[in-house]
């Protein structure tokens, strides 16, 4: 039983890492939705190959489906090249059409074969360890672990081998073309990889949730770093964390594992979106708040500085009347005074506010700027 849990967890982690790696480049190249298109459009390929092989995990099926995925990319690009259809619309046209063909094929002919629509679209991670690889009578572990492990290594090898090329094509395609790096070749290599990964993963998590594994971790990592290499590592890590967290969630509430992993992906994304330093929502809100007080404090010291040493200084710097001179709300004014006192820009002298040397410097600097 524990072995079973461990198997599922391992498959989930390996799948998540394998999906996250090519996902990084899709997110950076603004092509994330291609994964959505591929994952749906491979259905007719899966169905046709399934009619031939009658097995969901045969290598032929994976090849046929991956071929359909690449074909989808070609279709989308051909449509785009007519200049009659924009990229997003081309994607939106291609995959529903291919998917429809797949659904019709299934409902028309699948009465006598065992191909469950739900299995294709939603996957069922819990069943993944049941199909085991056996050699010479030994149980070597679940087949899908080997399939996804191979795909993970393939992705890793491709990215390591063509790291420089991928980086160049991603960030400056025209420079890459000028230097003779053939962006088209790299592009199709990447798309083949995405197709193979999607096909490998749909067995475990289904074709809709593959998108969560491909887009979620890289987008989360994108919020955290500016470096491509760091983003790749972070994505794989976040993907694994999502897989572990999702599995834990699923066993806690006894719900769909794939769904729970997707939910975890959303939670982690939103969490990072909120708390990441500098770019997170909380950081932005705090910066705004701080800027507001800083600005008000600067206005206050400038006001005091303007009237310092002049005959009207006594009335202009009376704490009780400050809000009238600055045309601020009285409550806001007292808060600003408190803020400035805390920062030692001003000090209190009976009923008046006078500048400290620090405050004077701030005012002078602000006026010079």
């Amino acid at each position: 039983m524990i072995q079973n849990h461990l198997d599922i967890l391992l498959i989930a982690i390996v799948t998540a890492a394998a999906c996250a790696l090519p996902g990084v480049f899709l997110v950076l190249r603004r092509m994330t939705l291609m994964s959505d298109a591929i994952s749906h459009a491979i259905l007719p390929g899966i169905v046709l190959a399934f009619f031939l092989t009658e097995s969901l995990s045969s290598p032929l099926l994976i090849l046929a489906a991956a071929g359909t995925g690449v074909l989808t990319v070609v279709f989308v690009e051909l449509l785009e090249r007519t200049k009659l259809v924009k990229e997003d619309a081309a994607i939106g046209l291609t995959f529903p059409a291919l998917f429809s063909i797949g659904v019709i094929l299934i409902s028309r002919f699948a009465g006598n074969v065992h191909l469950d629509m739900d299995a294709v679209l939603l996957g069922e991670l819990a069943y993944a360890p049941l199909n085991r690889l056996k050699a010479f009578g030994y149980d070597l572990g679940p087949v899908s672990l080997y399939v996804m492990g191979t795909i993970l290594l393939l992705n890793l090898a491709f990215i390591l081998l063509f790291y420089k090329e991928l980086k160049l094509v991603t960030f400056d395609a025209s420079l890459a073309a000028a230097l003779g790096f053939t962006p088209t070749l790299i592009h199709y290599g990447l798309m083949t990889l995405v197709s193979v990964t999607t096909v490998g993963a749909f067995d475990a998590v289904g074709s809709i949730l593959v998108v969560a594994l491909i887009a979620g971790p890289p987008a989360t990592a994108y919020l955290m770093t500016d470096k491509l290499s760091r983003m790749l590592v972070l994505s794989a890590l976040i993907g694994s964390v999502n897989a572990i967290g999702g599995y834990w969630l699923a066993s806690l509430f006894d719900v769909s594992i794939a769904g729970a992993i997707a939910t975890m992906t959303l939670l982690i994304f939103v969490l990072v979106f909120l708390i990441v330093p500098n770019r997170g929502l909380i950081a932005i809100a705090r910066r705004h708040a701080r800027q507001k007080w800083e600005f008000a404090q600067t206005m206050l010291v400038i006001h005091l500085f303007n009237h310092e040493g002049l005959p009207e200084a006594e009335t202009e710097s009376a704490i009780a009347d400050l809000h009238e001179h600055l045309s601020w709300d009285p409550g806001f004014t007292s808060q600003v005074v408190k803020y400035a006192l805390n920062n030692r820009c001003v000090s209190r002298k009976e009923t008046q506010l006078i500048l400290t040397s620090h405050g004077r410097t701030i005012a002078q600097q602000a006026l010079v700027q």
Binding site: D36, L84, D88, S100, M117, P218, S256
Partner: protein, 304 residues
């Protein structure tokens, strides 16, 4: 006698389904134009997938399967999903496509979690995930068609009322903002109209294929005209055409699901439009190229 009555009954059911599909095609075709022109063709895909948790929550809260309540849940979830997409794009450097993909897949995943939760409570014959994914046009009842007609009609009327503003939003949002139109509000209004069209379509064609109902008629219509008015009108007609022909074709043989057939019909309309539409179409383009070549040749010969 019995045969005759089943025949009439059959035709009546078919007619109801065809009318429903036609209405749906009209509404989604017309509203889809805006999505396609704003390069948000896949927003429909995101909204339709994001609707699943809404349906599940509506069912968990009320325990009822009244379509209107489930549709309301779906609409709220789809709408929230879109708002999340908009704020991700506005507040982070994550691009539109990634935001769309994240919301689409994770909302759907959350819906799936809720769905398994409902299944586990033993509430047999629950909200029907298959129906959500693929739709069941064949089960459309008079009541459903009436709902589609009324809500879709309202959406179209609102579109006509704000015609000028929406047109400006689509073609020149910056200008619209500069003359003081509230573009955020208009954006939300347009999205809400799309949400209505999508949740209405869920029952007929399902979440996976709903995006095609928005995109295909609009892309086809775009090939025939450069005017928004004509494009919306044509897209509505194409949508209705696809709906009716898909329904009829799928009824001619057993075990051909209606939703996918409707989508394929719409795709055929797109193919024909891209090939044969005057001025923009591929055939037209080829003829023009040949004529140019001939004229150029003739001109060269005259020069010699």
């Amino acid at each position: 006698m019995g045969n005759l009555s089943t025949l009439i009954h059959f035709d009546y059911t078919l007619m109801i389904v065809a009318v429903g599909a036609a209405l749906l095609g009209t509404v989604s075709g017309a509203l889809g134009c805006y999505a396609v022109l704003r390069r948000q063709s896949l927003l429909g895909d995101a909204i339709s997938h994001a609707a699943l948790p809404g349906i599940a929550i509506a069912f968990l809260l009320t325990g009822s399967k009244v379509p209107l309540i489930l549709v309301l849940g779906a609409a709220i979830a789809g709408w929230l999903g879109t708002l999340l997409i908009m704020s991700i794009v506005r507040l982070t450097r994550i691009k539109y496509d990634s935001a769309l993909a994240i919301v689409l897949s994770t909302f759907f995943g959350f819906g799936l979690v809720l769905h398994t939760l409902i299944q586990r409570t033993g509430n047999a014959n629950q909200a029907g995930l298959d129906t959500f994914l693929f739709g069941q046009a064949a089960t459309l009842l008079e009541r459903d068609v009436l709902t589609i007609g009324i809500l879709g009609g309202i959406a179209l009327i609102v579109m006509l009322i704000f015609w000028k503003e929406l047109k400006l939003l689509v073609f020149d949002a910056d200008f619209a903002a500069s003359i003081g139109l509230p573009i955020r509000t208009l954006d939300i209004l347009l999205t809400s109209l799309l949400v209505i069209a999508i949740v209405l379509g869920l029952q007929a064609v399902g979440a996976v294929l709903m995006s095609a109902m928005l995109v295909a008629p609009a892309v086809a219509a775009r090939q025939w005209t450069n005017r928004l008015r004509l494009m919306v009108l044509l897209a509505a007609c194409f949508g209705a055409l696809a709906g009716v022909s898909g329904t009829i074709i799928s009824s001619t043989a057993s075990r051909i699901p209606t939703g996918p057939t409707i989508v394929l019909c719409a795709t055929v309309v797109v193919g024909l439009s891209i090939a044969f539409a005057p001025n923009r179409g591929l055939v037209w383009d080829r003829i023009r190229q040949q004529r140019n070549r001939r004229d150029l040749k003739a001109a060269m010969e005259i020069q010699e």
